[in-house]
């Protein structure tokens, strides 16, 4: 059985301007020990998909009644709980325990007025039976694991005394504190410099080799997913438009958006300086989500059917799925 199963996830936000359909019917599965990359531009719904799973949606966000989230054999869909209070109490037990999180900006994640020791020990004391001194031992062990030099001294310091890369290592150590089964990393290296990013990516790569935690990596950087991920989901306009293994997505993309995304990054190995092929236009406004394919307005291959009918998912291999009418004969005969 899959470690995480997300079925028909729908997340809406109530705003002054109206209803924003941030996540529109997203389904995927994740096996133990697997690294799934979720790639998308800002506003594609990639972060809100994850916040829906970990139960950290803003107060104006709501997960649809039909949405199913099954984690480690347990149904954690909000609609399955009798009250919101019960749901949040359940999620508190899971978060930081069997589900770890790594966020983009370590400075806003860490509490600036608490010593590193407090922040590392907190989840351990909350979720395990360890005593305070045992928890501190565990904290020191975690700091060594993520490569922080002289942890005995560093553990007594405050976040501001750490550099950006070191702070992100602390955040990773906190995520690992209770040996989670799933780690959700939301743009973990975006705020870091290239050489520091490489260090942190190497650390994450080592973790996946030494533990059997599954990782969901949210990013917009195709280089990062190429390095780390086993499978990749491409999100656009609140939907997963294509999902497959790293090789299927990079070497055999089926969706015009995936192809466009791959074409508009410059491959530094290529010296030709030929013009980049950008994707014209900008992403859809999810206040008024398009009825058909979300990519229709920017797609060069758009057909009549694309405008009004959302494409059905087509399976290309056991792992490779894509939603695009191009892969149906005569647009699926519609």
């Amino acid at each position: 059985m899959a470690l995480l199963e997300v079925k028909n996830l729908v997340t809406n936000f109530t705003t002054d301007q109206g209803n924003v359909a941030a996540v529109r019917d997203v389904s995927f599965e994740l096996e133990q020990g697997e690294v799934l990359g979720i790639v998308g531009e800002s506003g594609s719904g990639k972060s809100q998909t994850m916040y829906s799973i970990i139960g950290l949606l803003a107060s104006n966000g709501k997960i649809g009644e039909q949405s199913n989230i099954i984690f480690d054999g347990q149904d954690i869909s909000p609609s399955k709980f009798s009250s919101h209070k019960e749901y949040t109490a359940m999620m508190r037990k899971i978060r930081g325990n069997s589900m770890g999180m790594i966020f983009q900006d370590p400075m806003t994640f860490l509490n600036p007025i608490l010593k590193i020791e407090e922040q590392l020990v907190e989840p351990i004391l909350e979720h395990t039976d360890l005593t305070r001194s045992q928890a501190k031992e565990r904290a020191l062990e975690l700091m060594r694991l993520v490569g922080i030099p002289s942890p005995e001294k560093r553990i007594t310091q405050y976040p501001f005394e750490f550099s950006g890369g070191m702070r992100q290592r602390i955040v990773i150590a906190i995520a690992l504190a209770c040996s989670p089964k799933l780690i959700i990393a939301d743009e973990p290296t975006t705020a870091l410099d290239v050489t520091i990013q490489a260090q942190v990516l190497e650390l994450i790569d080592n973790l996946r080799n030494t533990s059997d935690s599954a990782i969901i990596m949210i990013t917009h950087d195709l280089g990062v997913v190429a390095k780390l991920c086993d499978r990749i989901a491409i999100m656009y306009g609140g939907k997963i438009v294509e999902i497959g293994t790293d090789k299927e997505i990079f070497y055999d993309p089926k969706h015009p958006y995936t192809l466009g995304l791959l074409n508009c990054i410059s491959n530094p190995e290529d010296d030709s300086r030929k013009p980049l092929t950008p994707i014209a236009g900008s992403p859809p406004d999810l206040l008024n989500p398009p009825k058909g394919c979300p990519f229709v307005d920017r797609c060069e291959k758009a057909m009549k059917i694309c405008k009004d009918n959302a494409p059905e998912e087509k399976q290309f291999s056991p792992t490779h799925k894509c939603s695009c009418w191009l892969h149906y004969e005569r647009g699926g005969n519609k």
Binding site: A198, Q199, L201, G223, A226, Y251, P268, L276, P278
Partner: protein, 326 residues
Amino acid sequence: MSEVQPILKVTDLKTYFDVTKGLFAPKQIVKAVDGISFEVYPNETFGLVGESGCGKSTLGRTIVKLYEPAGGTIEFDGKDISKIKGAELKAFRKDVQMIFQDPYASLNPRMTVGEIIKEPMIIHNIYNTDEEREARVVELLKIVGLKPDHIRRYPAEFSGGQRQRIGIARALAVNPKFIVCDEPISALDVSIQAQVINLLKNIQNEMGFSYLFIAHDLSMVKYISDKIGVMYLGHMMEMGPSNDVYHRPLHPYTQALLSAIPIPDPDVAKSKQRIVVEGEIPSPINPPKGCPFSTRCQRATERCKNNMPDPCKVGDRLVWCFLYEK
């Protein structure tokens, strides 16, 4: 004197900031830019790369005279502009424009697009009547790929990529000879980045001016630049034609920086061996005595730790490293 003269010639430029805290505290100076020299030729793009805190943005801002240099000279079009003031400075600013990183912070939210693009024309007295200015704004909007009816709208109505286009139109409004682009695409989504890069290249081909292109994204810099300079802690480490620097990096820092770029190709990325640089950039308040990279360099010797290397010429390139001494 038949040779083409550089449009910009920077010699031993220094920009220091006083960060002393308190009245009686010991004086603390950040040497953000510490002895940088380079030249940019007409119609050329010079890419400046480096990690945060290396001084690349400070260098760009010093060149457009947003900061006062602490030493060295900046020659623009054959004239030293490092100490000019008043009318001379104003004339210089007409020739040199800047495109900023954050398209949300660099446009006044209370001005319409038309007013934003017109402002530099008014300041520099380029057209006589408002009709002429308006006509030019419409023309500029078309050049950057916006619609003429966008002229009465406010920045808030535009997406990040469109705002960056407005910033570009504003820079073009005074027909500059030189544009400093400070991380113009790093706030934009991938699919939008390519649009802006193509636009920057097209307008350069059509209008003919030079860019100083500042970024931390080496692959984009390599794509757009003719020459690349690699900065670290206020110093230039290596400088040369962009393909050479990218394919045969000489300085250990450039090598480390390049090997750290994640390549968007799973087979390459998963097999690539990174040159490990441990540690982080030292504080610019207390920089190493010798080569700034010596604290993290695997090939550093005692000499590197105590002496700053002079530039060594290797082919078309300059490398500030003792390894390449003849």
